[in-house]
Subunit: 501 residues, 4 copies
């Protein structure tokens, strides 16, 4: 009865040994088939969230909502689906798990009928004081349908006492802390905005039209502009709010005090597609540069450079080019990763790693190899892959990681395991090496990472990026966490970003 989705994020195993971006957003104003454009755009953002997808369109009179579990193609591939979503403005969302199993209540865009009319919202990020705000709203009579932090924003808008919708919306934003890139639809047009630190990405472009007037497009990544034939204009700036009316006229607002931005550096390392331009740079080039840094910082005397597919490939190319060691596909990955398989009682290797990856035995047998991977989370995948290489006859297996050790949880929209499950939070370098049974292990340094993104180094007083997962240096307050774990213990002074160890 359910549409079944058997194919998973190509970069992950199902054992939870991964980090997961939680969302991608897309919006378009002024396209003849806005929902079809949005479906394509979301399809290009599918890697940012594969559990559910939704589109809300507006036809000048009414809003139309369609949401479902599963991939974009499953929910929006048919003409029937598009016929349900008429209009020239649409916004859409892809997301990871609908936590709590409560069906579609949390699938975005959320939609509500406010006194001012319909209001749709798609959110990438995480509000770190959502529980706090929610409690207060419920005390005042608000009725919540789901558990998503995004719903808090709608209630803040609905109950704001400012006169205009834009004022109400800004009033709501001011109460938020954390990370948010938002795309909203109203009967007057679209609103796109990014939190003051610009933690999550948001870009803007336009589809040129023959008859002169084009459509305005917003998306989490530039690849979504590419697929819909849009030109990339610029990023939505951190702290910027852009209004687009139904005629495509755009107005930029700056409702926040200007602060230094802190975009997520992990977007470069892992989340964004390599063909995206993020924070002004080619993600592919950055990843290659990380590999080159790694080769400089941590060379390995080996015969072959082998990527852990697919996310380790660009860094491995960089590593190979810098080191002069040949780049070879020593691990072949299957494109068909079933969610579950029954474990035979015989000797079959049925873990998700071996269902997805197979050693290219003829290549690696008798060779010394260095494996290049993007990150280590729990370490279980690395262990299995090292073992797979040894079983295939590799005589030495070295591991190089294209990011610094992941030691802290993310509270800004990335689904990380709890801290005590992160390998790098539990062990020192030698213990990690031993755990994954590699002959040597090295991570790129934090400054090496900053160099790869074109900085001279990380400025410790005022880091150019959010790198809290590596450093614990959280750029915002974390009210919900503080309240959950007792403010006293965390000594979270109001107004001041805190480092949570």
């Amino acid at each position: 009865m359910m549409s079944t989705d058997f194919v998973h994020h190509p970069f992950h195993d199902e054992d939870g040994d991964s980090l997961r971006e939680e969302c991608g957003v897309f919006g378009v104003v002024g396209a003849r088939d806005a929902a079809a454009v949005s479906a394509l755009g979301l399809h290009a953002l599918q890697h940012r969230g594969q559990e559910a997808a939704g589109i809300v369109s507006y036809d000048g009179q009414e809003f139309h909502v369609r949401r479902g579990n599963g991939h974009v193609a499953e929910n929006f591939g048919t003409g029937e689906a598009m016929a349900e979503l008429p209009g020239t403005m649409a916004c859409g969302h892809v997301r990871y798990s609908t936590t709590g199993g409560t069906g579609l209540r949390n699938v975005q865009p959320l939609y509500a009928e406010l006194a001012s009319g319909g209001f749709a919202i798609a959110h990438n990020g995480n509000i770190s004081n959502a529980m706090h705000l929610r409690s207060d709203l419920v005390r005042r009579g608000a009725i919540f349908q789901g558990t998503a932090d995004t719903e808090v924003i709608i209630h803040l808008v609905a109950t704001s006492r400012y006169p205009t919708l834009l004022d109400k919306f800004v009033d709501a934003l001011r109460m938020l802390e954390g990370a948010y890139s938002l795309i909203c639809s109203t009967p007057a047009g679209m609103i796109a905005c990014r939190d003051p630190l610009g933690i999550r990405p948001l870009v803007m472009g336009h589809i040129p039209e023959k008859n002169g007037k084009g459509a305005v497009v917003f998306a989490s990544e530039t690849v979504a502009l590419d697929i819909v034939g849009a030109n990339f204009d610029r990023e939505v700036e951190p702290g910027e709010l852009i209004e687009v009316d139904l005629d495509g006229k755009t107005t930029s607002h700056r409702p926040f005090t200007k602060t230094a931005s802190r975009p997520c550096i992990f977007e470069h390392v892992y989340f964004s597609r390599p063909d995206s331009i993020s924070a002004g740079q080619s993600v592919y080039s950055v990843r290659k540069a990380i590999g080159q840094q790694l080769a400089i910082e941590s060379p390995a005397d080996v015969d072959l450079v082998i990527p852990v597919p697919d996310s380790g490939v660009p860094a491995a190319i960089g590593y190979a080019q810098e080191s002069g060691v040949p780049f070879e596909l020593g691990i072949i990955r299957s494109h068909y990763v079933g969610r579950t398989f029954i474990q035979p009682s015989d000797g079959a290797r049925t873990n998700s790693v071996s269902r997805k990856h197979n050693a290219n035995r003829a290549l690696v047998a008798g060779k010394r190899i260095v494996l290049i991977d993007d990150s280590i989370v729990r370490g279980t995948t690395s262990l299995k892959i090292v073992q797979m290489m040894r079983d295939a006859g590799a005589t030495e297996v070295h591991m190089r990681i294209a990011s610094p050790p992941t030691m802290h949880s993310c509270f800004y929209g990335v689904d990380t395991p709890e801290r005590n499950k992160l390998l790098a939070a539990r062990m020192d370098m030698e213990a990690m090496r031993e755990f994954i049974q590699a002959d040597s292990l090295a991570f790129v340094s934090i400054d090496g990472l900053y160099r790869a993104v074109g900085e001279a180094e990380r400025k410790p007083k005022c880091p150019q990026y959010c790198d809290a997962c590596f450093t614990g240096d959280y750029p915002t307050r974390l009210t919900d966490l503080a309240e959950k774990t007792h403010a006293g213990q965390l000594n979270l002074a109001p107004g001041k970003p805190e480092k949570v160890a």
Copy 2:
């Protein structure tokens, strides 16, 4: 109502501009959970057929059949599915389209209750006189359920007048022409065999067990042995029939006059997974060697070597290593290829090529590039990809193909377009180059291809491989084709292989 399968062969677009292997087969005798082992094995063969899958198990008393449209994981991923398939012997099949839309009648393994007991059969290949045999059987009262040529084999067995099942089976095989690798289950055990020319592959291995007695495994490719933890023992020889009883005892039979074998050379070029060992050679190494041949035969004065992902990657690595030009990912492919998307009326590029491939603009802009692809079928994909590279700013786009021109249809189990749709059958080299709008175009030579597989050259009198798709040199009679197109015209003398232009 149906489980929907939105993700397609990673190597294809949906425009039919591709060749498609039609099947993969797997069998195991003596494993405690034979169906679960088979599900894993078929999963590793998923690239050989993605439209439908089936497994038949035998528990010593009864046969159990389960077949379905869709991927292996969709049909065999659950404990319920496995519970329906008890027993220590099982055979399975993955296939491409169930032609005719007649539901599950053609999904294999086929199963029938013969006078001798249950009989299951899984077939990779194509019987080139199936229509001829079928007409004769129907005239004698046989009732066919489906359109698959495989059903002919069952009826030949059922109506054979030999006394034992093995005799009946050999009697049936002797009437067949064409390509077949077969795995059959009977109450006495398993029968695996390969046609006299060995056109389609079939390998044999065993799962070692701690208590000394292991399971015997057959599969289309060695990757299916890897995933179930089996050791690769040897290929089933062309013209060999191997009986395995329920205790795992194997007996080899040679029911045919010995002839020189002619395995399909395209398995190396395209069908087999790069981590498989085919005809004694690493598929990955052969593909790299083809790339090296190409670089020697047809160098290009360029800045970057760019594979058309994913199937062009090994040849591109070989080409880059031979030429010294850097290997780079200039095309990024999405792993989420929805079957259909509605075409917006705006400027979005919604063809399947652009939904699956995106240019890495930052990399290719301003560069001279050479693209490496495995083959050209209709040419439409090549045209789109060349265009995509030019749109992204490449200044020169050269194309190199890791196979000779595909000029003839296959009648041995590969779904090729009709001859008049094959670009190389319609145009000369320069016209092809013009059609795909490349700055230069070259294919590896037929002798270059043979050198890559380790031969000195192709022996024209007695070619070492079936290369009919390149040469039109068909190694068997093609009775059905001859009868369809009037024997007179083709002058097909009985018993003599014919070249069909």
Copy 3:
């Protein structure tokens, strides 16, 4: 994805020529498997609403919600469904169409997390000032999920400034006008109440347990008590609110000024099952008594008394017994009424009446007959049935209707066509007879109807029942209707019930 429900209300055709009760409610406190008890109870109320069903259970810690389109058995027949609904308290709901096609948002019981904790509500009836209240709530920032009037009640509770939940609930009820029988679950127990006029029914009973302590049960009709093995204790009184704590202790409240009750008289005529006890009387006996009244008021000189099945059967038995004319099944109804069938272009009679009803030709041929039906709505069904009898050879066809002419719409929870579609609102008696092509036509008189329910006559100043569909005498204000049609025109004085013609 959808469960498909092909079998419809046995008493209706699909042409909309019918009245439809909109809901049934059920609740139980103190039963070991409260959800399973509720599923059975709702199953017995299925005739009151067949489009959707829901149950909310409470296990002492948490609320569990399950709702779905389709029949109770489809949604709650499995052990898995029950396992999702643990606890000893549960309330449930069956309903007619989820108007607007917006999926499950309007399926009840509705559930919300209030500041006071979880709150589930199941509602039978209709709030005649719901739109008015809703507009006001939205203006104050409330966000509505669905279009059901019931959601208004939750928001009124959530935003009430009274201190306790019970006070908030009563505060909310005081703002309502219209008809409501409500069953609510809170962490403290169950609340059941009925509007001051008692328009919709609600009964109370208990399941005796061996160990002394039983469960308290509420339901729309006594048949739901029968099926769960509960004894019928009494009706919930009009204007009464009963609290039941988790230990089963009940407390009765009277939050409204006492007024004369006005239960819906149509429950006797049509909605309730004949084996229910409604307003202290056997529905079956009342219907037979109506038939007897009809025979006295409007005799017919005929050979056979024939019920229009199934709802006309009890009245036909009464008519036959009073008149002495034999009761016979001249119309046979099929129990399989498919929602749709394609109309062949040939002569087949494919309207829903002929798919559901067939003439017993051998019986009626050559006979004079009187048909007994419960009501006439649009008249289209009556026309077809009269025609069917004539086609079968009946020489005279008389029609007797076991209710007065239905001339006015219901605003209290019955889905009636708009007034201008009601046959009796458009035509006089002779025109109606001519329309349905009967030889004679008669309805029971309004006083005859009151006599059948045991009254001497209808008291015009203070009618004992709500009979607005027959008389236009609406017992409450109809604010939404008045605002929709301009208060001025209707001259609706505040506080005074109005007759809307």
Copy 4:
């Protein structure tokens, strides 16, 4: 995934305490939308088989097949379904359980491509030597797809050595023993036939068309003619074979030696719809006459005559009219019978009888009643219904059964329990009365039953009907049963009908 069918045969409980007709057949030649006509016709025959339905149409060029589990309306209610079934000739089938759970292989009409062209067959009845014939066919190389006895007929036709299809078909029929009413489609037209004894019914009619030329229709019962607007022409005679060509020209053949016919008398008692004409008589009138016979043979001194709904109603009307005791609905049946409900651990009555039937307490309390039911199979339903009446306060409960005791299994297409589960085969009259706990129990006599169908009495030497379920007097050989239970024991002399005790 599956369409779910939650509503069951109205006459049955799910405890298996019932007899079940196994099939209904329908065919039409010369109708513009033959499939739509067939869908309606099958819908009217739904009571004869509710588990699966199928239609095969022929458009002059090709046959089109559609079959599915579930009701006719579920499978053939949509325009899409009809669009798959073009043509002016169609035949269809409804059936009970697809025994063995092997999906759709046994759902009829069966279809095969023979040397002579397409051949579709729909069968009502049971071939009592099917296993015997099947074994022989398999030995000769036939491959069976399903387990249905009907498939034997196709293989007999396919392997017959007669020259024409009609000759082959008659050749096949001559080998059959048992009961069969068959409707077959071939490229030349339709063939309808009935076994020599005419055990199962088959009627013939035509749809009159305005332009003079009508369609020919065959069906199991006349109600299927009524619903498609066809006139009833006559029964297909026992032993008659009627050919209809595509122009509607009919030819009658008599391929068998003339014998006295033996139609199934139970069709009158139970299977056929009351509005059908069976063997020249109104089923409703026969059932009333049985009730009258019962009242004469076994009067009861009671206050009320109460039918067990719905199948007992006509007999109860007859009993009431003959006895002068009032007919009343003392048991109300629900039209919503869910397949399963979870048993609460509390006191709820959840057996299928109480989910389907409820006592009309107000009516029966304090009364002496006689219950009229059609038959007793295992007796468990009768026990529950008697108990229900006593619980409702009936002071005396008498039971009268409108058929003689069912003591023998049927081998002609009715799904009866094994003999040792039939109450009447296990107990004498007094023991049965005690088992069901009635105050008295009586069955109509076998001669009374014959009188009700218009005979003076049963002719013991040459009974006018097949009444084997009451008498054990089987009118054909039962080869499969004999071989299964050892011919020696049964002493089955060839050619002579045997009484199997």
